[in-house]
Protein backbone atom coordinates (compact mmCIF):
# COMPACT_ATOMS: atom_id res chain seq x y z
CA UNK A 1 0.00 0.00 0.00
CA UNK A 2 1.58 3.28 -1.04
CA UNK A 3 -0.99 5.65 0.44
CA UNK A 4 -3.73 4.96 2.96
CA UNK A 5 -5.94 7.73 4.36
CA UNK A 6 -8.21 6.89 7.25
CA UNK A 7 -10.96 9.47 7.81
CA UNK A 8 -8.57 12.34 7.36
CA UNK A 9 -9.82 15.85 8.10
CA UNK A 10 -7.76 18.98 7.89
CA UNK A 11 -8.50 22.58 8.88
CA UNK A 12 -6.26 25.55 8.17
CA UNK A 13 -5.54 27.79 11.16
CA UNK A 14 -7.32 25.23 13.29
CA UNK A 15 -7.31 27.28 16.47
CA UNK A 16 -8.37 30.75 15.45
CA UNK A 17 -11.08 32.82 13.88
CA UNK A 18 -9.97 32.32 10.31
CA UNK A 19 -10.21 28.57 10.62
CA UNK A 20 -11.66 26.91 7.57
CA UNK A 21 -11.60 23.24 6.91
CA UNK A 22 -10.19 21.94 3.67
CA UNK A 23 -10.68 18.20 4.03
CA UNK A 24 -13.57 16.26 5.56
CA UNK A 25 -13.10 12.63 6.53
CA UNK A 26 -11.27 11.60 3.41
CA UNK A 27 -10.54 7.89 3.23
CA UNK A 28 -8.62 6.49 0.32
CA UNK A 29 -6.17 3.76 -0.57
CA UNK A 30 -3.68 3.76 -3.43
CA UNK A 31 -1.61 0.73 -4.32
CA UNK A 32 2.09 0.96 -5.04
CA UNK A 33 3.05 1.43 -8.68
CA UNK A 34 -0.29 2.87 -9.73
CA UNK A 35 -0.88 6.03 -11.74
CA UNK A 36 -3.60 8.06 -10.06
CA UNK A 37 -5.33 11.18 -11.33
CA UNK A 38 -7.03 13.54 -8.90
CA UNK A 39 -9.64 15.90 -10.34
CA UNK A 40 -12.05 18.41 -8.90
CA UNK A 41 -13.09 22.03 -9.13
CA UNK A 42 -10.93 24.81 -7.70
CA UNK A 43 -11.06 24.89 -3.91
CA UNK A 44 -12.07 21.25 -3.65
CA UNK A 45 -9.11 20.42 -1.44
CA UNK A 46 -6.87 18.75 -4.01
CA UNK A 47 -3.73 20.69 -3.14
CA UNK A 48 -4.34 20.29 0.58
CA UNK A 49 -4.71 16.56 0.03
CA UNK A 50 -1.38 16.42 -1.81
CA UNK A 51 0.50 18.11 0.99
CA UNK A 52 -0.44 15.25 3.29
CA UNK A 53 1.44 12.78 1.13
CA UNK A 54 4.85 13.92 2.34
CA UNK A 55 3.97 15.35 5.74
CA UNK A 56 4.02 19.04 4.83
CA UNK A 57 0.60 19.14 6.42
CA UNK A 58 -0.50 16.84 9.18
CA UNK A 59 -4.13 15.80 9.54
CA UNK A 60 -6.13 17.58 12.23
CA UNK A 61 -8.10 14.36 12.57
CA UNK A 62 -7.60 10.86 11.28
CA UNK A 63 -4.57 8.94 10.16
CA UNK A 64 -2.40 9.05 7.04
CA UNK A 65 -0.13 6.17 6.13
CA UNK A 66 2.36 6.74 3.33
CA UNK A 67 4.76 3.87 2.54
CA UNK A 68 5.71 2.75 6.06
CA UNK A 69 5.23 6.12 7.73
CA UNK A 70 2.21 7.07 9.81
CA UNK A 71 1.13 10.69 10.20
CA UNK A 72 -1.36 11.66 12.84
CA UNK A 73 -2.50 14.82 14.56
CA UNK A 74 0.11 15.81 17.11
CA UNK A 75 2.55 13.09 16.06
CA UNK A 76 6.10 14.03 15.19
CA UNK A 77 7.56 11.41 12.88
CA UNK A 78 10.90 11.74 11.12
CA UNK A 79 9.88 13.42 7.92
CA UNK A 80 13.21 13.66 6.16
CA UNK A 81 13.23 10.06 4.96
CA UNK A 82 9.56 10.26 3.96
CA UNK A 83 10.28 13.35 1.89
CA UNK A 84 13.09 11.66 0.03
CA UNK A 85 10.85 8.78 -0.88
CA UNK A 86 7.84 10.91 -1.76
CA UNK A 87 8.74 13.66 -4.24
CA UNK A 88 6.23 16.51 -4.28
CA UNK A 89 6.12 18.91 -7.22
CA UNK A 90 4.09 22.01 -6.45
CA UNK A 91 2.02 24.07 -8.81
CA UNK A 92 4.22 26.34 -10.97
CA UNK A 93 7.38 24.69 -9.64
CA UNK A 94 9.56 26.90 -11.84
CA UNK A 95 8.84 29.78 -9.46
CA UNK A 96 10.77 27.93 -6.79
CA UNK A 97 14.07 27.69 -8.65
CA UNK A 98 16.67 29.69 -6.79
CA UNK A 99 20.22 28.59 -7.61
CA UNK A 100 22.26 30.26 -10.34
CA UNK A 101 22.86 27.09 -12.35
CA UNK A 102 20.57 24.24 -13.29
CA UNK A 103 23.12 21.82 -11.87
CA UNK A 104 23.06 23.37 -8.38
CA UNK A 105 19.29 23.44 -8.33
CA UNK A 106 19.08 19.79 -9.32
CA UNK A 107 21.67 18.81 -6.71
CA UNK A 108 19.92 20.72 -3.90
CA UNK A 109 17.56 17.86 -3.01
CA UNK A 110 20.02 14.96 -3.24
CA UNK A 111 22.60 16.87 -1.16
CA UNK A 112 19.99 17.63 1.50
CA UNK A 113 19.23 13.94 1.71
CA UNK A 114 22.84 13.12 2.36
CA UNK A 115 24.22 12.08 -1.04
CA UNK A 116 27.84 12.99 -1.78
CA UNK A 117 28.56 15.50 -4.52
CA UNK A 118 29.48 12.99 -7.22
CA UNK A 119 26.40 10.85 -6.61
CA UNK A 120 24.24 13.98 -6.52
CA UNK A 121 25.70 15.11 -9.84
CA UNK A 122 24.95 11.73 -11.37
CA UNK A 123 21.36 11.93 -10.10
CA UNK A 124 21.07 15.42 -11.52
CA UNK A 125 22.16 14.23 -14.97
CA UNK A 126 19.85 11.22 -14.82
CA UNK A 127 16.87 13.36 -13.80
CA UNK A 128 17.61 15.87 -16.54
CA UNK A 129 17.62 13.08 -19.13
CA UNK A 130 14.36 11.74 -17.74
CA UNK A 131 12.61 15.01 -18.48
CA UNK A 132 14.11 15.07 -21.99
CA UNK A 133 16.84 17.65 -21.51
CA UNK A 134 20.56 16.92 -21.92
CA UNK A 135 23.71 17.71 -19.98
CA UNK A 136 24.31 20.95 -21.88
CA UNK A 137 21.69 22.48 -19.56
CA UNK A 138 23.72 21.84 -16.39
CA UNK A 139 25.81 25.04 -16.37
CA UNK A 140 22.97 27.26 -17.60
CA UNK A 141 21.11 29.79 -15.49
CA UNK A 142 17.59 28.51 -14.83
CA UNK A 143 16.15 32.03 -15.05
CA UNK A 144 17.26 32.29 -18.68
CA UNK A 145 15.41 29.18 -19.85
CA UNK A 146 12.03 29.18 -21.54
CA UNK A 147 8.92 28.59 -19.41
CA UNK A 148 8.56 24.97 -20.52
CA UNK A 149 12.24 24.24 -19.92
CA UNK A 150 12.10 25.83 -16.47
CA UNK A 151 9.13 23.65 -15.62
CA UNK A 152 11.02 20.55 -16.74
CA UNK A 153 14.10 21.51 -14.73
CA UNK A 154 11.93 22.09 -11.67
CA UNK A 155 10.32 18.68 -12.06
CA UNK A 156 13.75 17.12 -12.61
CA UNK A 157 14.90 18.70 -9.34
CA UNK A 158 12.37 16.49 -7.56
CA UNK A 159 13.08 13.42 -9.72
CA UNK A 160 16.77 13.80 -8.84
CA UNK A 161 15.98 12.54 -5.34
CA UNK A 162 14.84 9.30 -6.98
CA UNK A 163 11.53 9.20 -5.07
CA UNK A 164 9.37 6.08 -5.08
CA UNK A 165 6.18 8.10 -5.09
CA UNK A 166 5.92 11.17 -7.32
CA UNK A 167 3.16 13.62 -6.51
CA UNK A 168 2.48 16.54 -8.84
CA UNK A 169 0.09 19.47 -8.49
CA UNK A 170 -1.16 20.50 -11.91
CA UNK A 171 2.16 19.92 -13.65
CA UNK A 172 0.86 20.89 -17.09
CA UNK A 173 -0.89 24.17 -16.19
CA UNK A 174 0.00 27.07 -18.51
CA UNK A 175 2.33 24.95 -20.66
CA UNK A 176 1.96 24.81 -24.44
CA UNK A 177 0.09 21.78 -25.84
CA UNK A 178 3.25 20.06 -27.02
CA UNK A 179 5.02 20.30 -23.65
CA UNK A 180 1.83 19.17 -21.95
CA UNK A 181 1.67 15.99 -23.99
CA UNK A 182 5.40 15.36 -23.44
CA UNK A 183 5.07 15.76 -19.71
CA UNK A 184 2.06 13.44 -19.44
CA UNK A 185 3.95 10.86 -21.46
CA UNK A 186 7.02 11.22 -19.25
CA UNK A 187 4.89 10.56 -16.17
CA UNK A 188 3.31 7.55 -17.86
CA UNK A 189 6.79 6.17 -18.61
CA UNK A 190 7.96 6.73 -15.02
CA UNK A 191 5.10 4.55 -13.84
CA UNK A 192 5.22 1.85 -16.53
CA UNK A 193 8.97 1.45 -16.93
CA UNK A 194 10.33 2.33 -13.51
CA UNK A 195 7.42 1.18 -11.38
CA UNK A 196 6.98 4.52 -9.64
CA UNK A 197 3.73 5.45 -7.95
CA UNK A 198 2.54 8.58 -9.72
CA UNK A 199 -0.18 10.85 -8.35
CA UNK A 200 -1.23 13.83 -10.44
CA UNK A 201 -3.71 16.58 -9.68
CA UNK A 202 -5.13 17.91 -12.89
CA UNK A 203 -7.80 20.20 -14.27
CA UNK A 204 -7.54 18.56 -17.66
CA UNK A 205 -8.65 15.01 -17.20
CA UNK A 206 -8.09 14.21 -20.89
CA UNK A 207 -4.34 14.71 -20.59
CA UNK A 208 -3.86 12.02 -17.98
CA UNK A 209 -6.62 9.66 -19.21
CA UNK A 210 -4.30 7.50 -21.32
CA UNK A 211 -2.02 6.91 -18.33
CA UNK A 212 -4.03 6.98 -15.11
CA UNK A 213 -5.33 3.64 -13.86
CA UNK A 214 -7.26 5.17 -10.96
CA UNK A 215 -9.21 8.40 -10.67
CA UNK A 216 -10.22 10.33 -7.60
CA UNK A 217 -12.68 13.21 -7.71
CA UNK A 218 -12.72 15.75 -4.90
CA UNK A 219 -15.56 18.14 -4.08
CA UNK A 220 -15.57 20.64 -1.20
CA UNK A 221 -12.99 18.73 0.78
CA UNK A 222 -14.64 15.36 0.33
CA UNK A 223 -13.74 12.43 -1.86
CA UNK A 224 -16.78 11.88 -4.03
CA UNK A 225 -15.42 9.31 -6.45
CA UNK A 226 -12.65 6.77 -6.73
CA UNK A 227 -12.47 4.23 -9.50
CA UNK A 228 -11.09 3.08 -12.81
CA UNK A 229 -11.21 5.21 -15.98
CA UNK A 230 -14.14 3.08 -17.20
CA UNK A 231 -16.07 3.83 -14.00
CA UNK A 232 -15.21 7.50 -14.36
CA UNK A 233 -16.66 7.45 -17.86
CA UNK A 234 -19.84 5.76 -16.63
CA UNK A 235 -20.37 8.26 -13.86
CA UNK A 236 -19.18 11.30 -15.79
CA UNK A 237 -22.64 12.78 -16.27
CA UNK A 238 -23.47 12.50 -12.57
CA UNK A 239 -20.09 13.89 -11.49
CA UNK A 240 -20.54 16.79 -13.86
CA UNK A 241 -24.03 17.72 -12.73
CA UNK A 242 -23.50 17.15 -9.00
CA UNK A 243 -19.92 18.25 -8.51
CA UNK A 244 -19.22 20.50 -11.50
CA UNK A 245 -16.46 18.22 -12.68
CA UNK A 246 -14.95 19.44 -15.95
CA UNK A 247 -15.68 16.36 -18.03
CA UNK A 248 -13.48 16.31 -21.13
CA UNK A 249 -14.93 16.16 -24.63
CA UNK A 250 -13.52 12.68 -25.30
CA UNK A 251 -15.58 11.19 -22.47
CA UNK A 252 -18.71 13.04 -23.58
CA UNK A 253 -18.26 11.85 -27.18
CA UNK A 254 -17.81 8.26 -26.02
CA UNK A 255 -20.86 8.42 -23.76
CA UNK A 256 -23.03 9.74 -26.61
CA UNK A 257 -21.70 7.02 -28.86
CA UNK A 258 -22.22 4.36 -26.22
CA UNK A 259 -25.77 5.56 -25.60
CA UNK A 260 -26.65 5.55 -29.28
CA UNK A 261 -25.14 2.18 -30.14
CA UNK A 262 -25.54 0.44 -26.79
CA UNK A 263 -21.81 0.11 -26.06
CA UNK A 264 -22.03 0.75 -22.30
CA UNK A 265 -20.44 -2.60 -21.48
CA UNK A 266 -17.41 -2.00 -23.69
CA UNK A 267 -14.03 -0.64 -22.61
CA UNK A 268 -14.34 3.06 -23.48
CA UNK A 269 -12.22 4.51 -26.31
CA UNK A 270 -10.82 7.74 -25.01
CA UNK A 271 -8.34 8.98 -27.57
CA UNK A 272 -9.30 10.55 -30.86
CA UNK A 273 -7.64 7.71 -32.80
CA UNK A 274 -9.33 4.91 -30.84
CA UNK A 275 -12.70 6.60 -31.09
CA UNK A 276 -12.31 7.18 -34.82
CA UNK A 277 -11.37 3.52 -35.35
CA UNK A 278 -14.34 2.39 -33.26
CA UNK A 279 -16.75 4.61 -35.17
CA UNK A 280 -15.42 3.37 -38.47
CA UNK A 281 -15.97 -0.24 -37.33
CA UNK A 282 -19.47 0.67 -36.20
CA UNK A 283 -20.21 2.16 -39.58
CA UNK A 284 -18.82 -0.88 -41.38
CA UNK A 285 -20.92 -3.16 -39.23
CA UNK A 286 -23.90 -0.95 -39.97
CA UNK A 287 -23.21 -1.21 -43.69
CA UNK A 288 -23.02 -5.00 -43.52
CA UNK A 289 -26.19 -5.14 -41.50
CA UNK A 290 -27.98 -2.93 -43.97
CA UNK A 291 -26.66 -4.88 -46.93
CA UNK A 292 -27.49 -8.17 -45.18
CA UNK A 293 -30.96 -6.90 -44.34
CA UNK A 294 -31.49 -5.44 -47.82
Amino acid sequence: MAVDFEKVSFAYDARNMWSHSALHEVSLRLEEGVFTGIAGATGSGKSTLLQHFNGLLKPTEGKVRVLDFTLEAGGKPLLQELRRRVGLVFQFPEQQLFEDTVEKDLMFGPLNFGMDREAARQSAIRALRQVGLDESFLPRNPFHLSGGQMRKVAIASVLAMDPEVIVLDEPTATLDPESRAELAELLGRMQQEEGKTVIVVTHRIEEMLPYAGTWIVMHQGKKVFQGSPAELVHEAARLESEYHLAVPACIKVWNRLAEQYGLEQEEPCLTAEQTAARISRLLEAGDIERKGGG
Partner: protein, 268 residues
Protein backbone atom coordinates in the same frame (compact mmCIF):
# COMPACT_ATOMS: atom_id res chain seq x y z
CA UNK B 1 4.48 32.25 9.79
CA UNK B 2 1.27 33.33 8.15
CA UNK B 3 -0.76 32.01 11.06
CA UNK B 4 0.91 34.35 13.48
CA UNK B 5 0.61 37.45 11.37
CA UNK B 6 -2.18 39.66 12.60
CA UNK B 7 -1.03 42.92 11.10
CA UNK B 8 -3.35 44.29 8.47
CA UNK B 9 -5.92 41.58 8.85
CA UNK B 10 -9.44 42.73 9.52
CA UNK B 11 -11.84 40.62 11.56
CA UNK B 12 -15.48 41.00 10.63
CA UNK B 13 -17.81 40.66 13.60
CA UNK B 14 -20.56 43.09 12.63
CA UNK B 15 -20.16 45.41 15.63
CA UNK B 16 -21.24 49.05 15.42
CA UNK B 17 -17.60 50.13 15.29
CA UNK B 18 -16.80 48.29 12.04
CA UNK B 19 -18.78 50.47 9.63
CA UNK B 20 -17.64 53.80 11.12
CA UNK B 21 -15.92 56.14 8.69
CA UNK B 22 -12.21 55.26 8.68
CA UNK B 23 -11.39 58.97 8.91
CA UNK B 24 -13.19 59.07 12.26
CA UNK B 25 -11.26 56.02 13.41
CA UNK B 26 -7.95 57.56 12.40
CA UNK B 27 -8.82 60.81 14.16
CA UNK B 28 -9.91 58.82 17.20
CA UNK B 29 -6.62 56.97 17.32
CA UNK B 30 -4.63 60.21 17.19
CA UNK B 31 -6.75 61.62 20.04
CA UNK B 32 -6.22 58.37 21.95
CA UNK B 33 -2.48 58.76 21.55
CA UNK B 34 -2.75 62.33 22.87
CA UNK B 35 -4.75 61.13 25.88
CA UNK B 36 -2.16 58.45 26.67
CA UNK B 37 0.64 60.99 26.45
CA UNK B 38 -1.12 63.00 29.16
CA UNK B 39 -1.36 59.98 31.44
CA UNK B 40 1.40 60.02 34.06
CA UNK B 41 -0.12 58.50 37.17
CA UNK B 42 -2.11 55.45 38.18
CA UNK B 43 -5.66 56.80 38.35
CA UNK B 44 -5.75 58.37 34.87
CA UNK B 45 -4.10 55.20 33.58
CA UNK B 46 -6.86 53.15 35.14
CA UNK B 47 -9.46 55.41 33.51
CA UNK B 48 -7.79 55.01 30.12
CA UNK B 49 -7.56 51.24 30.60
CA UNK B 50 -11.27 50.95 31.45
CA UNK B 51 -12.14 53.14 28.46
CA UNK B 52 -9.98 50.93 26.19
CA UNK B 53 -11.44 47.70 27.52
CA UNK B 54 -14.99 48.92 26.96
CA UNK B 55 -14.17 49.81 23.37
CA UNK B 56 -12.36 46.52 22.75
CA UNK B 57 -15.36 44.64 24.11
CA UNK B 58 -17.69 46.62 21.87
CA UNK B 59 -15.83 45.48 18.76
CA UNK B 60 -16.94 41.92 19.68
CA UNK B 61 -13.41 40.74 18.86
CA UNK B 62 -11.97 38.43 21.55
CA UNK B 63 -9.50 40.25 23.78
CA UNK B 64 -6.81 37.68 23.10
CA UNK B 65 -6.46 39.04 19.57
CA UNK B 66 -5.59 42.45 21.00
CA UNK B 67 -3.09 40.78 23.28
CA UNK B 68 -1.58 38.97 20.31
CA UNK B 69 -1.27 42.23 18.42
CA UNK B 70 0.80 43.68 21.26
CA UNK B 71 2.96 40.60 21.66
CA UNK B 72 5.62 41.38 19.03
CA UNK B 73 6.45 44.60 20.91
CA UNK B 74 7.07 43.03 24.31
CA UNK B 75 10.82 43.66 24.05
CA UNK B 76 10.18 47.36 23.62
CA UNK B 77 7.83 47.37 26.63
CA UNK B 78 10.36 45.59 28.82
CA UNK B 79 13.02 48.04 27.65
CA UNK B 80 10.84 51.05 28.52
CA UNK B 81 10.08 49.55 31.91
CA UNK B 82 13.73 48.83 32.75
CA UNK B 83 15.03 52.22 31.62
CA UNK B 84 12.35 54.15 33.52
CA UNK B 85 12.77 52.06 36.63
CA UNK B 86 16.53 52.51 36.74
CA UNK B 87 16.71 56.20 35.86
CA UNK B 88 13.96 57.81 37.93
CA UNK B 89 15.15 58.48 41.49
CA UNK B 90 12.01 59.38 43.40
CA UNK B 91 10.31 58.10 46.52
CA UNK B 92 11.57 55.34 48.75
CA UNK B 93 14.72 53.38 47.98
CA UNK B 94 13.66 49.80 47.37
CA UNK B 95 16.76 48.04 46.20
CA UNK B 96 20.43 48.76 45.87
CA UNK B 97 22.88 46.44 44.16
CA UNK B 98 26.22 48.15 43.57
CA UNK B 99 25.52 51.13 41.34
CA UNK B 100 22.02 50.02 40.46
CA UNK B 101 19.31 51.63 42.51
CA UNK B 102 15.58 51.10 42.30
CA UNK B 103 13.25 53.67 43.86
CA UNK B 104 9.52 53.26 44.44
CA UNK B 105 8.82 56.27 42.19
CA UNK B 106 10.96 54.76 39.43
CA UNK B 107 9.23 51.41 39.66
CA UNK B 108 5.84 53.05 39.48
CA UNK B 109 6.91 55.23 36.53
CA UNK B 110 8.31 52.20 34.74
CA UNK B 111 5.11 50.23 35.20
CA UNK B 112 2.98 53.18 34.05
CA UNK B 113 5.09 53.73 30.92
CA UNK B 114 5.08 50.06 29.98
CA UNK B 115 1.31 49.83 30.52
CA UNK B 116 0.77 52.93 28.37
CA UNK B 117 2.73 51.28 25.59
CA UNK B 118 0.72 48.08 25.98
CA UNK B 119 -2.54 50.03 25.86
CA UNK B 120 -1.44 52.02 22.83
CA UNK B 121 -0.36 49.04 20.77
CA UNK B 122 -3.25 46.76 21.62
CA UNK B 123 -5.89 49.49 21.36
CA UNK B 124 -4.74 50.87 18.03
CA UNK B 125 -4.89 47.31 16.67
CA UNK B 126 -8.62 48.00 16.72
CA UNK B 127 -8.07 50.22 13.69
CA UNK B 128 -6.78 47.41 11.49
CA UNK B 129 -9.06 44.80 13.08
CA UNK B 130 -12.24 46.70 12.30
CA UNK B 131 -11.29 48.26 8.95
CA UNK B 132 -10.41 46.51 5.72
CA UNK B 133 -7.06 47.68 4.31
CA UNK B 134 -8.72 49.31 1.32
CA UNK B 135 -11.05 51.42 3.42
CA UNK B 136 -8.29 52.26 5.85
CA UNK B 137 -6.21 53.50 2.99
CA UNK B 138 -9.06 55.57 1.64
CA UNK B 139 -9.53 57.04 5.10
CA UNK B 140 -5.85 57.88 5.25
CA UNK B 141 -6.19 59.63 1.90
CA UNK B 142 -9.07 61.62 3.32
CA UNK B 143 -7.14 62.62 6.43
CA UNK B 144 -4.04 63.55 4.44
CA UNK B 145 -5.92 65.41 1.69
CA UNK B 146 -5.30 68.88 3.24
CA UNK B 147 -1.56 68.26 2.80
CA UNK B 148 -1.99 68.95 -0.92
CA UNK B 149 -1.89 72.64 -0.04
CA UNK B 150 1.72 72.30 1.05
CA UNK B 151 2.70 70.25 -1.98
CA UNK B 152 2.50 66.73 -0.56
CA UNK B 153 0.58 64.36 -2.80
CA UNK B 154 -1.74 62.29 -0.67
CA UNK B 155 -2.69 60.25 -3.76
CA UNK B 156 0.83 59.03 -4.23
CA UNK B 157 1.21 58.14 -0.56
CA UNK B 158 -2.07 56.29 -0.35
CA UNK B 159 -1.42 54.47 -3.62
CA UNK B 160 1.93 53.31 -2.28
CA UNK B 161 0.38 52.30 1.03
CA UNK B 162 -2.47 50.54 -0.70
CA UNK B 163 -0.20 48.50 -2.94
CA UNK B 164 2.13 47.64 -0.09
CA UNK B 165 -0.75 46.53 2.14
CA UNK B 166 -2.27 44.57 -0.70
CA UNK B 167 0.93 42.66 -1.39
CA UNK B 168 2.03 41.82 2.15
CA UNK B 169 -0.17 38.72 2.32
CA UNK B 170 0.55 37.77 -1.30
CA UNK B 171 4.29 37.88 -0.86
CA UNK B 172 4.06 36.10 2.48
CA UNK B 173 1.97 33.36 0.92
CA UNK B 174 4.48 33.03 -1.85
CA UNK B 175 7.37 32.80 0.61
CA UNK B 176 5.42 30.20 2.50
CA UNK B 177 4.94 28.21 -0.69
CA UNK B 178 8.62 28.33 -1.57
CA UNK B 179 9.53 27.27 1.97
CA UNK B 180 7.25 24.29 1.55
CA UNK B 181 8.81 23.42 -1.78
CA UNK B 182 12.24 23.57 -0.13
CA UNK B 183 10.98 21.37 2.69
CA UNK B 184 9.76 18.87 0.10
CA UNK B 185 13.34 18.77 -1.18
CA UNK B 186 14.74 17.99 2.24
CA UNK B 187 15.43 21.45 3.65
CA UNK B 188 12.79 21.92 6.32
CA UNK B 189 13.22 25.29 8.00
CA UNK B 190 11.79 23.94 11.23
CA UNK B 191 14.31 21.14 11.51
CA UNK B 192 17.53 22.82 10.39
CA UNK B 193 20.31 24.10 12.65
CA UNK B 194 20.60 27.91 12.90
CA UNK B 195 23.40 28.44 10.40
CA UNK B 196 21.61 26.35 7.77
CA UNK B 197 18.40 28.22 8.54
CA UNK B 198 20.14 31.48 7.73
CA UNK B 199 21.50 30.12 4.47
CA UNK B 200 18.10 28.84 3.46
CA UNK B 201 16.44 32.18 4.20
CA UNK B 202 19.04 33.97 2.08
CA UNK B 203 18.41 31.55 -0.76
CA UNK B 204 14.71 32.35 -0.44
CA UNK B 205 15.42 35.96 -1.33
CA UNK B 206 16.14 35.04 -4.94
CA UNK B 207 12.79 33.52 -5.93
CA UNK B 208 10.80 35.92 -3.74
CA UNK B 209 12.49 39.00 -5.20
CA UNK B 210 12.17 37.66 -8.72
CA UNK B 211 8.47 37.13 -8.28
CA UNK B 212 7.94 40.48 -6.53
CA UNK B 213 9.49 42.27 -9.52
CA UNK B 214 7.45 40.19 -11.94
CA UNK B 215 4.29 41.10 -10.03
CA UNK B 216 5.22 44.78 -9.93
CA UNK B 217 5.67 44.83 -13.69
CA UNK B 218 2.39 43.04 -14.29
CA UNK B 219 0.66 45.46 -11.94
CA UNK B 220 2.05 48.52 -13.72
CA UNK B 221 0.97 47.18 -17.09
CA UNK B 222 -2.50 46.24 -15.94
CA UNK B 223 -3.02 49.61 -14.27
CA UNK B 224 -1.88 51.50 -17.33
CA UNK B 225 -3.97 49.29 -19.57
CA UNK B 226 -7.00 50.47 -17.60
CA UNK B 227 -6.05 54.11 -18.00
CA UNK B 228 -4.74 54.78 -14.51
CA UNK B 229 -2.85 58.05 -14.28
CA UNK B 230 -1.55 59.08 -10.91
CA UNK B 231 -2.78 62.43 -9.59
CA UNK B 232 -5.73 62.63 -11.99
CA UNK B 233 -9.14 63.04 -10.40
CA UNK B 234 -10.78 59.68 -9.85
CA UNK B 235 -14.13 58.51 -8.71
CA UNK B 236 -14.27 56.25 -5.66
CA UNK B 237 -15.75 52.82 -5.40
CA UNK B 238 -16.78 53.30 -1.78
CA UNK B 239 -17.97 56.75 -0.80
CA UNK B 240 -16.93 57.51 2.75
CA UNK B 241 -19.97 58.51 4.80
CA UNK B 242 -19.57 60.42 8.04
CA UNK B 243 -22.40 59.22 10.29
CA UNK B 244 -23.50 60.58 13.66
CA UNK B 245 -21.91 57.46 15.15
CA UNK B 246 -18.62 58.65 13.69
CA UNK B 247 -19.03 62.00 15.41
CA UNK B 248 -19.86 60.21 18.63
CA UNK B 249 -16.82 58.00 18.22
CA UNK B 250 -14.49 60.99 17.85
CA UNK B 251 -16.20 62.85 20.69
CA UNK B 252 -15.73 59.89 23.04
CA UNK B 253 -11.99 60.34 22.65
CA UNK B 254 -12.28 64.06 23.37
CA UNK B 255 -14.14 63.05 26.53
CA UNK B 256 -11.31 60.65 27.39
CA UNK B 257 -8.78 63.48 27.10
CA UNK B 258 -11.01 65.65 29.29
CA UNK B 259 -11.29 62.92 31.93
CA UNK B 260 -7.55 62.39 31.99
CA UNK B 261 -6.95 66.14 32.30
CA UNK B 262 -9.52 66.58 35.08
CA UNK B 263 -8.13 63.61 37.03
CA UNK B 264 -4.65 65.07 36.66
CA UNK B 265 -5.74 68.47 37.98
CA UNK B 266 -7.74 66.98 40.83
CA UNK B 267 -4.90 64.74 41.93
CA UNK B 268 -2.19 67.39 42.00
Amino acid sequence: MRNRLLFGRSIETGSWIHPIDPRAKLTGMVLYLAALLLVDSWIPLLAAAIFSLIYMKMTLIPLKYYAKAAKPLWVLMVFIFVVQTLTVDEGRLLLEIGNVTVYAGGLSRGLISASRMLLLVSFTAMLTFTTTPGLLNQGLGGVLAPLKKIGVSADRLTLMMGIALRFIPTILDETHKILKAQAARGADLKELPWLEKGKLLVSLLVPVTVSAFRRAEELVLSMEARGFIIGEPRSEYHKLVWSTKATGFVLSFVVLIAIVLVLKLVLT
